[in-house]
């Protein structure tokens, strides 16, 4: 069978489909978005009737996956790393309830923050929740781990976390597919209170979860994704996690370095394997993508044992993504480099597209705010965050999805006026609605812009959960109808828009302005499709 060329994300999706997936739930977020998109575009998934519509946010995604698993079927929930913060409540508790059908939660980390607000390492969530977790080193493993992960999940009736990072998610390689598994039949949990976390039940569940830990450790000892490669030179033992193994092999493949290597792809850590390499070698080097998760565990707080090298002692940088060059230096090999970047090269930061509706909105907003001496524009996450850059310099915050409305409310409560929020339509459906309810309940004097470009632009133009319902939602949570103002963000509407914004800023309550114009990227895409079909 010919190998198919798949992104890491796509390999996970194809693996899931082939392993009998019945439903996938996700909210977009780089670098995880392509997992869901692959299923949505897959003919095979369509024929198999696999459920694959976007969820409103990561929390609803994990809960829906848990519900699918309740019926005995296999489910996946996918998100970027910060999405797991949003979904942390159901995620942690699902370790207590356990699952019925196999359930895999995929969390895609973004070390070096190529498209993110932080570089948290999802493995901490794996340890925190006490469930087994997987970290593929290559696309083939990513594919295989979907099969393996579902089986493991059903064997222990626990959710399984799969942690990937940007390079794994967005790198393509050949993947060999396996025979397809049929989807599970509907089969409800035998224990009627399995999912009822009343304290008395939860306490039992917790003891059970603790009790199963030695078995999970044993699974890791025997896992096909963990192996020990002996070496003759015991001066150093090297432990690698996930794709760090690739950077190690890249560097040592044509050298005479011959250190023992422990490659880890399944957690909880395989204790016996760790003990073996620790006891046999004089020093240990830990190479892991992300935070020093394994390194910290081995080293211990007082660091009284053998020398453990890695990100904590400066052998590797404390933060940021690994590269083959960084690993070369950590191994004492020479660092290679071509010419320096010539001085004429200047940075080219991302920026609004030509004709973007957000830029017209910010120009109008900036003008409306001129003349006020103290004010703030709390913003959110999406293309419109680029309003922070010159020439706009239009926003004062970007913290986490939904935080614009709630921070503006808090600041207004603290006496700030104007207190403005700008939030995208997708972000509003993700986690802006509850904040708007809060603002309405306290009648805070805030002006909230819901920037409706009819899509989730930043992540490539996915459908927005609240599409076509925004005014209704605002009305429903308590915004007065006269203060829901829809404007058209266009240069030729500038004067009108400024006037409306000024009026609403002066309104002593919650007002919502909805600048509505389609994203120029999705519009172009649609026009191209039309042209093609002619």
């Amino acid at each position: 069978m010919r190998k198919s060329l798949l992104l890491g994300d796509e390999a996970i999706a194809q693996g899931g489909i082939d392993a009998g997936l019945s439903g996938i739930y996700a909210y977009p977020g780089t670098p995880s978005t392509e997992i869901m998109e692959f299923v949505q575009h897959s003919k095979q998934a369509k024929e198999l009737n696999i459920q694959c519509t976007w969820s409103a946010n990561e929390k609803t995604a994990v809960e829906a996956a848990l519900g699918m698993s309740f019926t005995g079927k296999r489910a996946m929930a996918c998100m970027k790393h910060v999405g797991l913060n949003v979904a942390a409540d159901p995620f942690i508790n699902s370790a207590f309830t356990g699952v019925n059908g196999g359930c895999i939660v995929v969390s895609a980390d973004d070390p070096s923050m190529h498209s993110s607000q932080n570089e948290q390492d999802s493995r901490f969530y794996g340890k925190f929740s006490l469930i087994p977790f997987l970290e593929p080193a290559n696309q083939q493993e990513a594919y295989d781990m979907a099969f393996y992960g579902f089986d493991l999940s059903e064997k222990y009736k626990l959710p399984v976390l799969m942690r990937i990072t940007t390079r794994m998610a967005h790198s393509r390689a050949g993947v060999q597919q396996r025979d397809i598994k049929k989807q599970n039949n509907l089969k409800l949990p035998e224990d009627l209170v399995q999912f009822v976390l009343l304290p008395a039940i939860a306490r039992k569940k917790y003891k059970k979860l603790l009790g199963v830990q030695p078995l999970l450790e044993k699974e890791s000892e025997e896992s096909p994704f963990n192996f020990y490669k002996d070496g003759s030179d015991k001066k150093l033992g090297i432990i690698t996690c996930g794709i760090a193994y690739n950077y190690l092999m890249e560097n040592i493949q044509n050298t005479n370095l011959n250190y023992p290597v422990l490659k880890i792809g399944q957690y909880p850590l395989p204790k016996k394997m760790i003990e073996k390499i620790y006891n046999e070698c004089e020093e240990i080097l830990v190479i892991e993508e992300g935070m020093p998760f394994v390194e910290e565990m081995l080293k211990g707080y007082l660091a009284k044992g053998k020398t453990i090298k890695g990100r904590l002692d400066g052998t590797l940088p404390r933060d940021g993504e690994l590269t083959p060059n960084l690993v070369a230096v950590a191994l004492g090999l020479t660092d290679t480099k071509g010419k320096d970047v010539p001085q004429v090269v200047v940075p080219r930061p991302p920026s609004f597209c030509d004709g973007c509706s957000h830029s017209d909105t910010y120009i109008a907003l900036n003008e409306a705010l001129r003349g006020y001496d103290k004010y703030a524009v709390f913003s959110d996450i999406g293309c419109y965050t680029l309003g922070a850059l010159p020439p706009y310099n239009a926003i004062n915050s970007c913290v986490d999805m939904g935080a614009s409305i709630t921070m503006a409310k808090g600041a207004a409560d603290g006496g700030l006026h104007p207190s403005v929020a700008t939030i995208g339509d997708s972000t509003f459906s993700h986690s802006g609605i509850t904040g708007l309810l809060d603002a309405c309940n306290s009648r805070s004097q805030v002006t909230i812009f819901i920037l409706d470009n009819l899509t989730t632009a930043m992540t490539g133009g996915q459908d927005t959960p609240g599409f076509g319902k925004i005014e209704e939602i605002c009305k429903g949570v308590g915004v007065e109808l006269e203060h829901i103002r829809v404007i058209k963000p266009l240069k030729n509407q500038h004067e009108t828009n400024v006037k409306i914004i000024k009026e609403e800023i002066e309104y002593k309550g919650v007002s919502v302005i909805i600048p509505r114009r389609e994203c120029i990227q999705t519009l172009n895409k649609k026009n191209k499709e039309k042209f093609k079909n002619k």
Partner: protein
């Protein structure tokens, strides 16, 4: 056999089509391949690059080490220079000469060209004009790929096959346009190398 290639440009310029063609050609030739690309934030008009590695042996790292790339293929001249730390001393720099100006401080093109010319092995090609002459500026990326093709260890027919496969759905006219673009780029390099 091993080719490590950096492909660069500006978000939205469609560098993926170049890596897709090389990728298909490499797979068709029975080679191993890894291709790491940029998604997300920087696609909004920022600088983007893709690491493409093909080899007859297993490839480990998704990223090319600095100083080891055999080639930089760039659809934009300033962007071709951003990745010089990756290019090996004997590596080729193949770039379009048409600047994509979306920043206020874009340097003067002469200064950029001088730096490009100072790279030992370089091909600077006005791919936009060549593509227009053939029929559509849309084929500029394939012209650049054609210009890169003589320095890659893949038979020319494999590139042609990949184009036929990838553009096949869009009809014969598009396939022929891109085959002509590939050919024109290749001829340019053979004359100017």
């Amino acid at each position: 056999m091993r080719n490590d290639i950096i492909i660069s440009g500006v978000g939205g310029q469609g560098i993926v089509s170049i890596s897709a063609i090389i990728g298909f050609a490499a797979l068709d030739a029975g080679l191993f391949l890894k291709q790491s690309e940029v998604h997300g934030m920087s696609q909004r008009g920022g600088d983007v690059q893709s690491h493409l590695r093909i080899s007859d042996k297993e490839i480990y790292s998704d990223l090319i080490p600095k100083g080891k790339a055999d080639m930089i293929i760039s659809v934009e001249p300033m962007e071709s220079l951003r990745y010089l730390p990756w290019l090996s001393a004997e590596g080729w720099l193949v770039t379009n000469t048409n600047p994509f100006i979306n920043i206020p401080d874009y340097p003067h093109i002469d200064k950029i060209m001088a730096e490009i010319k100072s790279v030992k092995n370089n091909i600077a090609i006005d791919a936009d004009t060549i593509a227009k002459e053939i029929g559509s500026v849309k084929a500029a990326n394939v012209v650049i790929l054609g210009a890169a093709s003589p320095f890659l260890n893949l038979p020319y027919e494999k590139f042609q096959g990949a184009i036929k496969f990838i553009f096949g759905k869009k009809g014969d006219a598009v396939v022929n346009l891109n085959l002509a673009a590939l050919e024109a780029g290749r001829k340019f390099s053979e004359k100017n190398k």
